[in-house]
């Protein structure tokens, strides 16, 4: 079946087998392996991408359902080699360890920050409730998203926890 869609700003036409999941289409047909697969049953969130600006789990969608849609994957975030503020936040605040959950986590954070400029810690945790991380315990992920939110508002990000701790020792 023929589909046309926009992926990371690029027009794409392809002939796909209707049973192909969007995540397989992105990884295997398009070579965009930044989007991970953890469970294929809609639980882990590793496969999160933006479809028409909204986060969805790309293992829960057939590629043909994305016909006419605009998709953003983690590869589409950086601008000319300049990291997106959310990517920068994960880097600066150690929001990852093994990195498996990271692309999905980052896309969920991008989805949140499109809607809320100044999310509270509760709102951040609610926004990533569909993304599982087996390494970090989530703490630094929350800090990374706070960093990105501040950056995107044009403010100085809060200092890292470890610096605060040094001060209080």
């Amino acid at each position: 079946m023929k589909i046309s869609l926009t992926i990371n700003g690029r027009e794409v036409s392809a002939d796909v087998e209707p049973r192909t999941l969007l995540v397989h289409f992105l990884r295997e047909d398009q070579g965009l392996t930044g989007t991970h697969i953890g469970c294929e049953t809609s639980y882990c969130g590793a496969c999160t991408v933006l479809v028409d600006g909204k986060t969805v789990k790309s293992c829960t969608m057939f590629a043909v359902q994305a016909d006419g849609a605009s998709i953003t994957t983690v590869e589409g975030l950086a601008d000319n080699g300049q990291l997106h503020p959310v990517q920068e936040g994960f880097w600066e605040r150690h929001g990852l360890q093994c990195g498996y959950c990271t692309p999905g986590m980052i896309m969920s954070a991008v989805g949140l920050l499109q809607e809320k400029q100044s999310p509270s810690e509760d709102e951040i945790r609610h926004a990533i409730e569909g993304n599982l991380c087996r390494c970090t315990g989530y703490h630094n992920i929350v800090r990374a998203i706070e960093y990105a939110a501040a950056k995107m508002r044009g403010e100085e990000p809060p200092p890292p926890d470890w610096e605060e701790e040094e001060v209080s020792v």
């Binding site: 209707p18 999941l21 049953t41 809609s42 969130g45 829960t60 043909v64 359902q65 949140l112 569909g130």
Partner: protein, 268 residues
Amino acid sequence: MEVIHPRNLEEALAAVADGMTPLAGGTDLMVEVNYGQKRPERVVALRRLADIADFSPTRIGAGVRWRRIEKEGPRALAQAARTVGSPQIRNAGTIGGNVATASPAGDGLPFLAAVDASIELTSGSGSRLLRWDEYFVGVKQTARRSDELVTAIVLADDLPERQEFAKVGVRNAMVISTVCCVVTRREDGATTVALGSVAPTPMRARRAEEMISSERSPSEATLAEFARLVSEEVAPITDHRSTEEYRRHAAGVLARRLLERCLRREAA
């Protein structure tokens, strides 16, 4: 496999009449497909069908997503919407899919029972309205014929002023309800109590409703009796998520808590 994208409701209805499987947000269906439990050969994709995505105070189109309901829906339904899955699930999943799946644990369903909502079913030969208790007939069983689509949820134009939803589950986020509940209360005391996950279909606790509706400012003893009646009326089973005993207990606690929230809002 074949997937079609109907341009309008007529084409969609022709497709289901022809035996095609409806696919809305896919958050129930695709999980079964990925687990290999279902292998639909012919699929009619409803995601972009604007004809069933209308939204008004008395009518919510089947294709309306939880994301919209959590912001714009009636209070208790919006509260329920906020607990469905996670943002990614709410961006895709629809109320029509919840109603069509008719899981005993569907979080959107107690609200429909609490306000006596009707389900609009449409086929090539027209539409019919079934009240919720005619529509839900068993565990994942409904009165929908295979040539019909769920097209809307129809609500009365005088929903109760106070309405509260809450659910109990094993964790805070992305959790299927162990028990979910809606309590509504009107100015004159008329109260409804609807529960999910405690019977094959969503249900009302009628004896508890009757008892509490005549109480204007219930005492501690009356509230305890209300909770006891709710626990007695529900008909839960023990399964992989919980036990019958716990569900009975939680149903009473939850209903009482929601009633108290309604009463506090009444006083305020």
